[in-house]
Symmetry: C2
Subunit: 263 residues, 2 copies
DNA sequence: ATATTGACTTGACGTGCATCAAATGCCCGC
DNA sequence: GCGGGCATTTGATGCACGTCAAGTCAATAT
């Protein structure tokens, strides 16, 4: 799988040239085998948009108009509960598709905003439909992505209902590390957390205070090292144990890495 | 929408006749417009199985072999955490599809067992694939179901991370009432809870004790009435408020009912 | 009926996390 | 470099919920 070379936060995709590193290309390119599909693909991959931190991608209850593929940056989708608290439903990291869950329902639940400067490829619903009708493989691929995400959500439910604060936090950290790494090939053990700790807390149903306390406790035990949002995981096994996953070493490493991608 | 007339827990579907009341028929029937599809449909709808309480439908990590449509009864899928606790990932009620989340991944996460005597229609993967290839509408319908379930899971996450015990419990009760009703047309306000309270607790990340205490507290306030697993919801508005959903009455009733189907 | 088993309830107690409040560090524009 | 605003840390306190332990009830078998 090719990757975006976007170390500095800006995409290298040219304006009028299909970006070979773009995950969107990975998704569609392999299924685009005739002129019609290529043409659609070109339209899809060229309708790019850039968001600054805090800019809104889509608002609560907005009708579904298409999917987005995030190439660089990070977003969150959240709702505001009646008591005014922000509840984070999901984080979106580079290489991930945004909007699948709105397709069946027809409109979006929650508001999606950029939490870092982000670049996205927009995939309008009509174009997607045409392309799917023409390329059953793409249809199946999208279906597969939907059921995989469903499966990750189930695993997330498991962790949310089964773990206490420490376990949830460990799970989230490992998961984010793993998702970042699987896209840009960075290290699993060193990464920059894309979101504020308060966001992480809101995602896990915790308070920023609890989050901070556990992180500092881990730091004092030498399990992690942090400087602002820069994280270094020093004892992944311990963290994995707390996240409720047994550590497997040696040849099962891959399986283990897969498990981390649970959410 | 037609319904199973299964008041006594046994399906009325004949052995060699397509059951017009079966939800499976609702799913596939409308898309089966040629002889080939009908033939497949007949095969699908006739491979039925019955499970007694406690019998296993599929085990942890079993490879995906097909979907099931539950016609009567109820099932749960769960995993055992390393400390020996049962964590319930989902409940399956009549009219619902079982196994979607295993399609992308290729194998099942969690073990699925019957919690009441149940009847299912099995839909083998190969048959499904053939039928999908022939009937794009069916393919799209399945995709729509997957993304809808995804959307419900997101909403569930929201409730799990945002509500305390009382809110989660209210949400679960209303949700189950709504799902039961939407299949068999029974009352939203009176129903028989298909699972033990301990199962409900395990699903919500609570203990049976907490669950019991809240239920009794509601009962003492006249919000609900219970006799064993028979439930009567006396003040739905109060419950909805606790579940974090504003009550809407009058013409918005339908929208409200829809909201209840969140999970 | 009586015994038996498992589901449910109830109480006493401890703890993990939320809450409130304040201090500290960090980033950004000037 | 300096100051303002936000993110993060830290502490003190209270409550919701988990834990442990009995007890009650309901369903089924004897």
């Amino acid at each position: 799988m090719t990757r975006c070379e976007d170390g500095n936060g800006t995409t290298k995709c040219g304006d009028h040239e299909i970006c070979a590193d773009c995950v969107l290309y990975n998704l569609l390119g392999q299924h685009a085998e005739d002129a019609f599909a290529r043409q659609l693909l070109a339209r899809l991959t060229h309708s790019k948009s850039a968001l600054k931190t805090g800019e809104v991608l889509k608002r609560e209850e907005e009708p579904f108009k298409g999917l987005f593929m995030l190439t660089t940056g990070a977003l969150k989708t959240y709702t505001i509960s009646e008591d005014g608290n922000e509840q984070i439903i999901s984080f979106h990291l580079p290489g991930e598709l945004i909007g699948l869950s709105a397709m069946g329902r027809g409109y979006h639940v929650g508001c999606t905003v950029a939490i870092s400067p982000s670049n996205l490829c927009a995939m309008p619903a009509q174009d997607l439909e045409k392309l799917c009708a023409r390329e059953p493989k793409l249809q199946r691929r999208l279906f597969g992505l939907a059921t995989q995400e469903l499966s990750r959500r189930e695993r997330l439910h498991q962790l949310m209902s089964g773990s206490r604060a420490e376990g949830r936090l460990a799970m989230a950290l490992l998961n984010i590390a793993c998702r970042l790494q699987s896209h840009d090939g960075s290290s699993l053990h060193r990464f920059r957390l894309p979101m504020a700790r308060a966001d992480l807390a809101a995602y896990l149903g915790l308070t920023p205070e609890t989050t901070s306390r556990h992180l500092r406790s881990w730091e004092s035990k030498g399990m992690i090292a942090t400087r602002g949002r820069e994280f270094e995981i020093r004892k992944p096994n311990e963290l994995e144990r707390m996240a409720g996953q047994e550590h497997v070493d040696g040849q099962d490493q891959d399986k283990n890495r897969f498990n981390l991608r649970v959410v």
